[in-house]
Symmetry: C4
Amino acid sequence: HPVERRAISQRQLDFERARPRWLREMLAEATGVFFYVFPGIASIASFTLAAGNPETAPLTPVFGSLFQIGLAFAIGISFAIIVCAPTSGGHFNPAVTICLAVWQGFPWKKVPYFIFSQIFGSFMAGMMLMGMYHEQLSEFAARTTAAGEGTVFNGGPASVLVSFPNANQTNLGYLVLIEFFVCSFIIMVIWACIDPANPFVSPAQAPYTIGLVYATMVWGFADITISTNMARDLGCRLVAAIFYGREAFTYHNYSWIAILINIPASLFGVTYYELVMRDSLQKIGKGR
Amino acid sequence: HPVERRAISQRQLDFERARPRWLREMLAEATGVFFYVFPGIASIASFTLAAGNPETAPLTPVFGSLFQIGLAFAIGISFAIIVCAPTSGGHFNPAVTICLAVWQGFPWKKVPYFIFSQIFGSFMAGMMLMGMYHEQLSEFAARTTAAGEGTVFNGGPASVLVSFPNANQTNLGYLVLIEFFVCSFIIMVIWACIDPANPFVSPAQAPYTIGLVYATMVWGFADITISTNMARDLGCRLVAAIFYGREAFTYHNYSWIAILINIPASLFGVTYYELVMRDSLQKIGKGR
Amino acid sequence: HPVERRAISQRQLDFERARPRWLREMLAEATGVFFYVFPGIASIASFTLAAGNPETAPLTPVFGSLFQIGLAFAIGISFAIIVCAPTSGGHFNPAVTICLAVWQGFPWKKVPYFIFSQIFGSFMAGMMLMGMYHEQLSEFAARTTAAGEGTVFNGGPASVLVSFPNANQTNLGYLVLIEFFVCSFIIMVIWACIDPANPFVSPAQAPYTIGLVYATMVWGFADITISTNMARDLGCRLVAAIFYGREAFTYHNYSWIAILINIPASLFGVTYYELVMRDSLQKIGKGR
Amino acid sequence: HPVERRAISQRQLDFERARPRWLREMLAEATGVFFYVFPGIASIASFTLAAGNPETAPLTPVFGSLFQIGLAFAIGISFAIIVCAPTSGGHFNPAVTICLAVWQGFPWKKVPYFIFSQIFGSFMAGMMLMGMYHEQLSEFAARTTAAGEGTVFNGGPASVLVSFPNANQTNLGYLVLIEFFVCSFIIMVIWACIDPANPFVSPAQAPYTIGLVYATMVWGFADITISTNMARDLGCRLVAAIFYGREAFTYHNYSWIAILINIPASLFGVTYYELVMRDSLQKIGKGR
């Protein structure tokens, strides 16, 4: 390991053992989601504020892009796994928690605690960002409101926190379709990364590979509105509702798609992987 | 491995053994090509729609670029290998299948099944993308058609699915030359990655290295038209023909270059590697 | 290892043993900070000069962006760790040195030597850059001075070396808030990477993961002014003061935030990690 | 290893043994330099042609940028190491060959053969690119010539192949200074990557780390003219001279800096590493 460590005192071990496991797991899930959401929405803020200001708009690519936003989420997910997965297993997504419960024996009674923690982590990331960008977002909201656009629309202040459909995306069917297949795609890559029989992923590589699948989906579909994670969406949407009103949930009747579709989509993707790809004996056969 | 796993039941092992191997291999090849093509053409869609709309054109770099498209294909290829290579070996390219048959003893009778599956995976990725981007691409096609440009040209709706030469690229000789050496370059890096004597590639690194060789070729040559993979091209070109007509195959008499040149080019690259670089004893000598 | 090595002579071993350890450690810390700061500020120079020149301004994204600057620092940090950490342990940040002293038994008497070396490395990187970009920065300073803007402001010549708040960022409270949570975020990822119980980071991956946490913070918060490292800031701010006057320290009363806030912020982040995440027995439990 | 391999026939082993070692080493060095230079100059071509055409100039970032060019060279270098280093050791740079001869016992009599091969590989990459981009570069050269700018200047057709100083960079002293410290920086990272005592670089990581040091230098200093490698420069400069005349060597009296400065600079960087960082016993001490 990169760093040698001093001897561990008995006092420290006693303290470590005294911490309740459920609390540590919940804190780890919340912290992990925070680590994943925070860099992502910060990049969206840098991008949205540049694009929304006539002075800086021509140089928007300098401040952000779908490419940068996708990678910021991707790397944030890697950080979440690296920092928190050793403690909680590293779900960070209610759909992952549910799929693990359905297919891999993760205890159902832990599911609500995990999901609550994940949403809480996202909520904290949204609140923190609103604090750090308070001056800039207030000024931006004043400008869009003065222009009669309000604050809740794609490209507006609320869209720093969560996705909203474009003004012309009024057919919810397509939004469901997009969300469904994007989430199925993501979960299949995750499932391959946590398949112990897979020779192409090392523990040190898994965090980045899982992160990058989110990045590619942002690059390819963020222009037509995706959400990908119930906890990331619901936590930040609550923050958006606090700051910009109920429209964060009611705009275009979209929010239920962002919050819920990823669950059935993930179950679909996992089922495909389990039926077609899973090969438990591969591990045994190779003696690994 | 990153994740511990519950015990595997006899019932699951029975189910896994009952699946026909050929079906799983075909599904894995199709799924892999889907995983590789889908993020790539999604990034092209995001880019092409931004560039093709006068309102968003000045901010095109925010929605995509050759850089992002190249990386989306690259990471998609990594996903294909990570998710599907443990099942089928991970060809995802008829030229790779043929080269493995010629040089590494891959059974010839499997070749047509693999190639069919690869084309089918690309076809499904194209169809899926057309569904998810249906609203936006229909509107775009209406606009280019109204402008008298049709839909089949570089930068037009059909070019989201497959490459077309620029309007001034009428000399097919140069298009053959470009395609040939780009594909030779790609296969040599792939061949080095699957050479068991190579100490510079670990199983966990191979997917990304193979992906990145496609990325660099997109960055360097996509502006003057490359295709690189028969399955990726033919599958999506069929989709383009369904939606935008036979011109997808007849435009500039180009499509045969996109579909076929990669095969002899790959054989050329592999032959060079086998004759000059291959060193079977290196493995034995180092006791690996 | 990638490269075989010739036999080592006794004479070489004697020389190596004769070098004073403290000098090598100080040189390694200074060199490491140089390696981290130099590529970063060079990218800022390329970007700032393009943006500050009316002729090249429209093509600024071609010369640089927050994205590129963040990655240049990130990769520079990786180089610092790879080249110098085997000699000195690889702190490169006074806050890391202090946190290691507080939580991991790093000897307090070494702390001032390490911090001095780190500041010296940053100072050398700043001086070197001023030499290499002398022609271009002189011309730029002449232009901004002639325009009555002076040289010390965000986007001006001095901002190549260190960060300055935007003209409208007059509330120091927000600048403290931003700096504090950015630095807490960074140190928690670093602390996870140097936790020997962490299965998701290999020695070869740690340099890049640590680098990338700086990158994501640059992407998300550099538009509203961050600094992140006392040594990187103070060393280069001294260079800025030499070339552009005392205003480098006095502008907007900001510099103390850039120089000092990272210390308590890092202690906060480390304390959270130690109390919640640290699990010393995990290592023992898995027999690693 | 990622791929299982069929049994190796005696006939193949006989063939492999019959190949002369010196020829394979020379071909590997030439091929490696080709692999490194080809993607890099292709990205420069895509970028330069977009920037040089008034129609596409506003969308230049879509076709290329210093960021993309730097990464194209970086990944090309990784490919060179992965494909060819197992055969020749992977120098790809006369300065590396000379430093290995001076400090690590690489046989001096091989030095001229290696350097010749390296220059030849770069020459072939340049020729190949001129063939593949012939139509586009001819048209571009006709346009710049018609505009009275000639073809040899930074941003012109010849600058696709090799670097030229900006029109206002007439002080050769600064060009020497820039080249010298950029090359010293690069070699120190390379030297750390090939130090067997270094725990932070694995064989699979070394190719990318070595590549990325070139990338960061391109990002930070390509705007003020760097070259970094005698073979890459001289091979392509010969191609530039063939197509665009002797001015490729005489423009601003610059070419000797591009060709020669990297040698003493690399010796300087290696000497610093050997005297300060090298710790031969670290390997032994850790029992690795």
